[in-house]
């Protein structure tokens, strides 16, 4: 299944069912497809899993065969090891990290993710240091004080107020979201207004919505 998280609200759960099988395409062939797409006007190669973390060695193998100047876009939940971070360093041009939680308790409860804060903040710092960084924040209902506040504060204070952040309001309860009462409904307009105000209060200057 290709993901190191088990988010109870996974929005790709239904899509995933349509592509259960999957086939092994040789690395050389994928490299050729990526080269063709780049010549066709694609801006980058987007590494997606589930999460691409378990596939890093395979991707490195593809890169050995590519010929075009195609930036590597690593699109991740950010929960990778120090070793993985070292492998990505010097290869990834643009990191996009989904910054989901401000508390380890919420991360364990919703995504079954251990040591969340320590891991993801470490990787955010190293992504900024060794490449360029785009952060996606999906505002979760009921998680403004425990999560969003800490996320915005960390970005502003540790990564810089000009960090590019995509603040998203489109949370929709998918799959097993009903297991967490606060996640069984969408974000309310007043929660969203508060989220936007929190981003302003944090002093962030490069937020898209």
């Amino acid at each position: 299944m290709g993901c190191n998280f088990r988010c109870i609200h996974c929005q790709n759960w239904s899509i995933s069912q349509q592509f259960e099988e999957g086939s092994v395409i040789p690395q050389k062939e994928l490299a050729l497809l990526i080269d063709i797409a780049r010549r066709d006007g694609c801006r980058n190669q987007n590494w997606v899993g589930g999460d691409p973390i378990p596939q890093i060695p395979f991707w490195l193998g593809i890169l050995l065969y590519e010929k075009e100047n195609t930036p590597v876009f690593f699109n991740t939940n950010g929960h990778y090891s120090r070793e993985a971070s070292e492998l990505l360093r010097g290869v990834v041009d643009l990191y996009k990290i989904d910054f989901k939680y401000g508390s380890d308790r919420c991360a364990e409860r919703i995504s079954d993710a251990p040591r969340y804060w320590e891991t993801v903040t470490r990787n955010l710092r190293s992504a900024k240091r060794y490449g360029e960084l785009l952060i996606r924040v999906l505002v979760l209902p009921g998680h403004l004080d425990c999560c969003l506040y800490c996320i915005l504060k960390f970005i502003s204070e540790e990564l810089g107020k000009g960090t590019r952040v995509n603040l998203m309001d489109q949370y929709t309860p998918h799959w097993r979201a009903g297991e967490a009462p606060e996640l069984s409904k969408r974000l309310t307009p007043s929660e969203w207004r508060r989220a936007v105000a929190m981003a302003e209060d944090a002093g962030l200057t490069n937020v898209t919505m």
């Binding site: 299944m1 290709g2 993901c3 190191n4 998280f5 088990r6 988010c7 996974c10 929005q11 899509i15 995933s16 592509f19 259960e20 099988e21 999957g22 092994v24 994928l30 497809l33 780049r38 006007g41 694609c42 801006r43 980058n44 190669q45 987007n46 590494w47 589930g50 999460d51 691409p52 973390i53 378990p54 060695p57 395979f58 490195l60 193998g61 890169l63 050995l64 100047n69 930036p71 590597v72 990778y80 090891s81 070793e83 993985a84 070292e86 492998l87 360093r89 010097g90 290869v91 041009d93 643009l94 996009k96 079954d112 993710a113 251990p114 040591r115 891991t119 785009l134 000009g162 590019r164």
Partner: protein, 161 residues
């Protein structure tokens, strides 16, 4: 076909201020890092210990950063460089394969031997199964269109049963 917001995104001052090098690579004014890593020699052999490999890797990364700077400043041209037999990217690939013997790629560090068919929490084996690939338009405007390869059962979580 490009979305209108995507077409203008690379000129957006806010995109340029946050992602200047990425934008330059998209416009072919600078070189993607992976191509630079292929130009950096790495002195190792296949039977080097993993510890030795990491040491060589660390040194090669420093060299890569220097080369990137020279390329970015126009002091060196990528076309004038000769790719070494064994590069930093080859070394990264080898280290990646070594990690699969006792996988610690994600922070769960479940240490399964994926080369021997053991499956960890992510259930990804040795090979990457591709479920689909396409020119993806549904991302932030500065990154689309994006050639996107989905792994098996694209999902951010969820046990199938």
């Amino acid at each position: 076909m490009v979305r209108p917001d995507a077409a203008s995104a690379l000129e957006d001052p806010k995109v340029l201020s946050a992602l200047p090098r990425y934008v330059d690579v998209v416009k072919n004014r600078r070189i993607a890092k992976f191509l630079i890593s292929r130009m950096v020699p790495a002195d190792y052999s296949d039977d080097s210990s993993t510890e030795e490999l990491w040491t060589v890797h660390e040194r090669a990364l420093v060299e890569e950063a220097e080369l990137e700077e020279s390329l970015d400043r126009g002091k060196v041209k990528i076309g004038d460089l000769k790719p070494p037999q064994r590069s930093l990217l080859h070394l990264k690939h080898l280290l990646g394969r070594r990690i699969l013997e006792s996988c610690v790629l994600c922070e769960r560090r479940c240490m399964k031997n994926r080369l021997r068919g053991e499956l960890g929490y992510c259930r990804v084996g040795e090979e990457m199964k591709v479920s689909s690939y396409f020119e993806h338009m549904g991302e932030e405007p500065e990154v689309v269109p994006s050639f996107t390869v989905y792994g098996p059962r694209h999902m951010l979580g969820g046990r199938p049963s």
